[in-house]
Symmetry: C2
DNA sequence: CAGTGGTCTAGACCACGGG
DNA sequence: CCGTGGTCTAGACCACTGT
């Protein structure tokens, strides 16, 4: 992204993070920002719109753009973010073990979800995430094999997202997620540090590319005492 | 909202829900929509932007706006939505019992969160949500008393949000949420149909008005087997 | 009243996709 | 090549907030 409004957006985020604008302050008016960034007002407004959507500011008509307290939000499990990205950002003492890497035929249900001909080949990957020496998360992923050529078990031990976005140059665009609580399966007990009969938090995700093709189905199974999900949401009236 | 782009947005949503555009179809081009709605292209684009953010369409450069399959998303626990609104929308067989309605002094922590002088009066409300005859959810809310004049236990048995938005004419704007899993307290065991020692899904929320003042702190405690949270999220690269 | 954000317009140029 | 969406502009008018 090298668009003008996106640069302005990032510039203002940096200003907020570095404390040049504190929570409760109002940003300079849109008119002032047009001269500061040498941009038209609509361009400024696009940048402010994004800041507002991401929880950085609240726009108040007649007053200005008030900076919100973003401190309590800095654990962005919400949105579309990979475990490795979180690991780096938060400096978690984490590691990944690949426990399965199989090629198999799609089931009827999977073929339908991926809009592929039945019996198309899928990659099935299972990974255990360890944090501070404990096995906390079991991630199970399915990809259409044709979409991720060259993907190896070694790559899966690092960041699949980095491989997809940087090496394959695919653009991940959006995801649908569902969080439910399930009872631990035998597999959970075997692979994670959980007791039989314990609850497991299950995050199902469907991840899509920018042309709206389904790239990935994920089932992420979390030990409940280490699960945390944070969201910023705006209200949309009916 | 009676803005032009919002009417167009709603018009297109209705078209999608009523099947005039099916998943996989492309909407008419932005140029065509300008003549159809007698609006400028930027106005059309504002409407399409919202459709995109809410998961209705995916815009693809050079091609058009593709309609997504919105069927799997129609359980919007994500966003800022009240229990009563969900109840109505989904036709749940649900009821609410108010189990506490107290006026008390704010703790230091609460006073700080609400940015009120210490010892300001708060309302503390606890409600049990029953679905199909089972006590599933315990909601505990705190409001600054001054912000919700006239709120009674009777109103709390219905929709507090409806009272706030329709009667008090306040506008709820955004919320920060956190989902964690806790072990059932004695209070949970007493008020909900759960076993001692069971897990409880806890949703902490901070709800804000459009001038960014904190209106409400909520702790919503869910029986795990009936908890479900669905989200649509777009990826924002670092 | 002046200053703020909210909406809308008409036109321009660019980047991408597909024939 | 044309049609698509992506960005940017300059200017206009309105609605709201505060003095």
């Amino acid at each position: 992204m090298k668009s003008k409004f996106h640069s302005i957006y990032q510039h203002l985020i940096r200003d907020i993070h570095e404390g040049r604008y504190m929570p409760g302050d109002t940003l300079p008016s849109e008119h002032e920002l047009t001269t500061q960034f040498e941009a038209s007002r609509e361009t400024i407004r696009k940048a402010l719109k994004q800041l507002s959507e991401h929880g950085y500011i609240q726009k108040i008509q007649g007053k200005g753009s008030v900076v919100l307290d973003v401190q309590r939000l800095d654990f962005p499990v919400s949105g579309v973010t990979s475990f490795q990205e979180l690991n780096q950002k938060l400096g978690m003492n984490a590691s990944t073990a690949v426990v399965a890497f199989n090629e198999l035929k799609a089931t009827a249900e999977q073929a339908h979800a991926f809009q592929l001909p039945e019996e198309e080949n899928l990659l099935e990957i299972a990974r255990v995430r360890m944090i501070d020496g404990e096995r906390i998360i079991l991630d199970k992923d399915w990809f259409p094999k044709a979409l991720v050529p060259g993907l190896t078990a070694d790559i899966c031990a690092g960041s699949i997202y980095a491989y997809i976005e940087n090496t394959l140059e695919l653009t991940i665009s959006f995801a649908k997620k569902e969080i439910v609580v399930d009872v631990a399966t035998e597999e959970d007990v075997e692979l994670l540090d959980v007791e039989p009969g314990s609850h497991i938090v299950v995050v199902h995700s469907l991840t899509y590319l920018e042309d709206a093709t389904l790239l990935q189905i994920t089932e992420s199974r979390h030990r409940p005492d280490r699960f945390r999900f944070v969201e910023f949401a705006r209200r949309h009236k009916a």
